[in-house]
């Protein structure tokens, strides 16, 4: 039964990949959505079965077949459902289904074959993601891990005719490979150390040990695994691919680059909670990197002008929170935030997709504004998502974020707590800056003059250029070229006075369901102090196999105070955003002019891309080009091959003179040969 969960999307992929181009969009979309919804139904049934079991014995194992058995090494294709993977499969199939439904409307402008290609990738992604979270050992997880990376690459570069999109796809893939390298090394080291790659067996082997005091094998294993997590989950230093990944279609950003795939690293740490708990050094690294990433991405998010990029940095920032939680040992809080974040971040991305869809591909915040009255459904759902992510009490984000901050404080990491709180403030500010810029005020009819022309977001220009290019191509050849963006021609020019359409029914459905989720999802983890039972954490606890010791120690008064502080911070952030971007935009401009230096630093994303380019990409390129290519390849390798050919050619040139064509000469040499051989044998 568990096998059916990843198998259904895989079947959907196969059907759409094989026949998708020959059937209508409705059929391709129905197959894809049907596969996801079917998978969701099976997941629900499985989780119900799981919940009926005794809390300590909550696990459903489905050993499908033995994949590799070689000497001591044994890897079974085994799927295992426990509370942790149960949460994950519900998020993946549930939110995945909604995003599939949303996509049927969002991608409607594509031609039939592209539409089917899109949905086949999306289904393939879901299948791999489900394998990732259901796999019972490192190798199966790695299969999913690589598979989602592949689908991420395919979907970021979905509009591959646009150079920035195919570049972004390559960047994502290559940066992820660096992380995967760490993951594979961690996997191998774990096998060498424990002789098994099964999660349960490793946890069982580690549990009786004492936590490593210094830096030992377990620290090395976990640190290498964390390198993999930084790649997949976009943490420092490998986060650079995620903002660029926004070149993909917006539903893809929602599903892969916000709700599911990027959380794989968090899930992996949760899955190996016992292992990580025995490596305090690694945990500290995880917590610090998570916090620094959260703060850094939050500050960058403050000044970005591309609606999707703001959300991308927000995602990086929120993922940082999850790693902070993992790093301080609050595994349940981290997974809880993963789960609530999936709702409101998917909602925000889908909302931004609805805005982009309505504005014919416009992504620049400075050219939006006043959409509140024109796109009411989008506005209200987006607002709910923003409130949820900002951490206003009562909505999903509050419970999970507060839980993380509380656990951080309770575990004694005061500095990390302060930084986390600051990030929380930033989150509220940049999210409401986004809301106020996009939905309030008035829309600028003309493109605003960029303060820094070189930093002007190229997305909008690409759209115009590519549309024009597509148009000329279409006029030259009857072959339909798909548009660079799902822009409907009737939507008119950027910022024109044309009537804007609010989200079509399929999109509105997804938005509304996710908005409801963003409000209520947090209540499953209602902390005891607010009258809840903290059911979420208790449900997950057996899956981690780690019992937080300080839980009983926590004082209720402290918890309430901290809760109040983080609520105040959230409200303050919204207030600040309201002042600068709603009431008094000149103040914002003045402030920006006063701090021109830091502003440029932020607008250029701390120049991290440039630093990586100068420190890593260019040296590699130069060594490869002038060293490996022109010297090693052209001179040494080609030289050896060509040299052999030349020696043989030159020798043959002389040797072939023997072939004179004279029969008598041949006869003479034959005779001479016979005489010589006979003479040799007959000579006494």
């Amino acid at each position: 039964m568990l096998l059916l969960i990843p198998l259904l999307p895989l079947l959907g992929f196969l059907v759409n990949a094989s026949f998708g181009r020959r059937v209508s969009k409705a059929a391709a979309g129905a197959v894809a959505c049907g596969a996801m919804i079917g998978s969701f139904a099976v997941s629900l049934l499985s989780v119900v079965r799981l919940v009926r079991l005794e809390p300590e014995a909550r696990a459903i194992v489905n050993q499908v077949f033995t994949w590799i058995a070689s000497g001591d090494f044994r890897a079974d294709f085994t799927l295992r459902l426990d509370p942790l993977s149960a949460v994950m499969i519900l998020v993946i199939t549930g939110i995945g289904s909604l995003i599939h439904i949303y996509s049927t409307a969002y991608m409607h402008e594509e031609v039939d074959s592209e539409y089917a290609r899109y949905f086949s990738y999306l289904n393939l992604f879901a299948a791999f993601m489900l394998v990732l979270v259901l796999g019972a050992n490192f190798l199966i997880m790695f299969v999913g891990w690589e598979g989602v990376g592949l689908c991420s690459y395919l979907l970021i570069g979905f509009w591959f005719q646009k150079k920035s999109a195919s570049d972004a796809g390559k960047k994502a893939f290559i940066v992820n490979r660096i992380g995967d390298w760490g993951f594979v090394l961690g996997l191998l080291l774990a096998f060498v150390r424990f002789g098994t790659i099964d999660f349960q067996d490793i946890a069982g082997a580690v549990a009786p040990m004492a936590p490593e005091a210094g830096f030992g094998t377990i620290s090395a294993i976990t640190l290498l695994l964390f390198v993999g997590a930084t790649g997949k989950s976009a943490q420092i230093p490998l986060y650079v691919w995620l903002p660029d990944a926004m070149e993909g279609p917006t539903p893809v950003s929602a599903l892969i680059h916000a709700a599911t795939m990027v959380t794989a690293g968090v899930y992996m740490i949760g899955r190996n909670a016992v292992l990580f708990s025995h490596a305090p050094t690694t945990l500290l690294v995880v917590a610090v990197i998570g916090t620094v990433t959260a703060l850094m991405a939050g500050t960058i998010g403050l000044v970005q002008n591309d609606i999707k990029r703001v959300l991308a940095y927000s995602t990086v920032s929120q993922l940082g929170y999850m790693f902070l939680a993992m790093g301080v040992g609050a595994y349940a809080a981290g997974i809880f935030h993963l789960y609530t974040h999936a709702f409101f971040k998917a909602l925000l991305f889908l909302g931004s997709g609805a805005v982009i869809h309505a504005l014919a591909g416009e992504q620049d915040l400075r050219r939006m504004g006043g959409l509140r009255s024109e796109l009411p459904i989008t506005y209200w759902t987006f607002l709910i998502g923003s409130i949820a992510i900002a951490g206003v009490p009562g909505l999903a984000g509050f419970f999970s974020k507060d839980e993380i901050l509380f656990r951080t404080f309770a575990s004694g990491h005061t500095i990390l707590w302060v930084v986390g709180l600051l990030t929380s403030l930033l989150t509220a500010i940049y999210m409401f800056r986004l809301v106020f810029l996009a939905f309030h005020g008035t829309r600028a009819p003309q493109p605003v003059k960029p303060a820094h022309p070189e930093e002007e977001e190229p997305a909008a220009h690409h759209v115009a250029g590519d549309d024009a290019a597509a148009g000329t191509q279409a006029s030259q050849s009857p072959v339909p070229t798909h548009q660079a963006h799902p822009a409907h021609p009737s939507h008119g020019a950027h910022g024109g006075s044309a009537h804007l359409h609010d989200a079509p029914p399929a999109m509105a459905l997804a938005l509304i369901v996710l908005a409801v989720g963003s409000v209520v999802a947090g209540y499953v983890g209602l902390p005891g102090i607010l009258g809840g039972g903290d059911w979420f954490a208790r449900f997950l606890e057996p899956a981690f196999g780690v019992h937080p010791a300080e839980e009983a120690v926590a004082e209720h008064g402290l918890e309430l105070t901290l809760m109040l502080v983080s609520s105040l911070v959230a409200v303050a952030g919204i207030g600040i955003a309201a002042y600068f971007f709603l009431k008094n935009r000149h103040a914002a401009d003045r402030l920006a002019d006063q701090f021109a230096g830091p502003r440029r630093l932020l607008e250029n994303k701390y120049y991290v891309d440039e630093i990586y380019d100068a420190a890593i990409v260019q040296p590699i390129r130069i060594t490869s080009e002038s060293g490996l290519w022109r010297v090693v390849d052209a001179r040494i390798i080609d030289g050896a091959v060509n040299g052999v050919a030349e020696v043989v050619g030159g020798a043959s040139d002389r040797l072939r003179r023997i072939q004179t064509g004279s029969v008598r000469a041949y006869a003479a040499s034959l005779f001479l040969g016979v005489v010589l051989i006979l003479g040799y044998y007959l000579w006494p």
Binding site: R657, T660, G661, S662, V663, R664, F671
Partner: protein, 100 residues
Amino acid sequence: MIPLNYYLILSAVLFAIGTAGVFVRRNLITILLSIEIMLNAVNLTFVAFGRALGSADGQIIVFFVMTVAAAEAAVGLAIVIALFRHRESLNPESFASLKW
């Protein structure tokens, strides 16, 4: 009875004459004739040894050699005729175009 050595000496002389003919003469037909002489020198050796050792094997081999020699003569002459039609010449040096 004539001693074996005499036969062998005669055979060697014939073989040497044949070989010299092959190298010295510039007429393809003469060369073919020289080859026949060489073959018959060998035949003579076979028969002489067969007689000396009291065995029939030498004679049997000679029959084979004669058969093959007949076939060789037929094929060789046919080739010579074909070559002659082509070049109006029987000099082997005029057929040296099959080279590098």
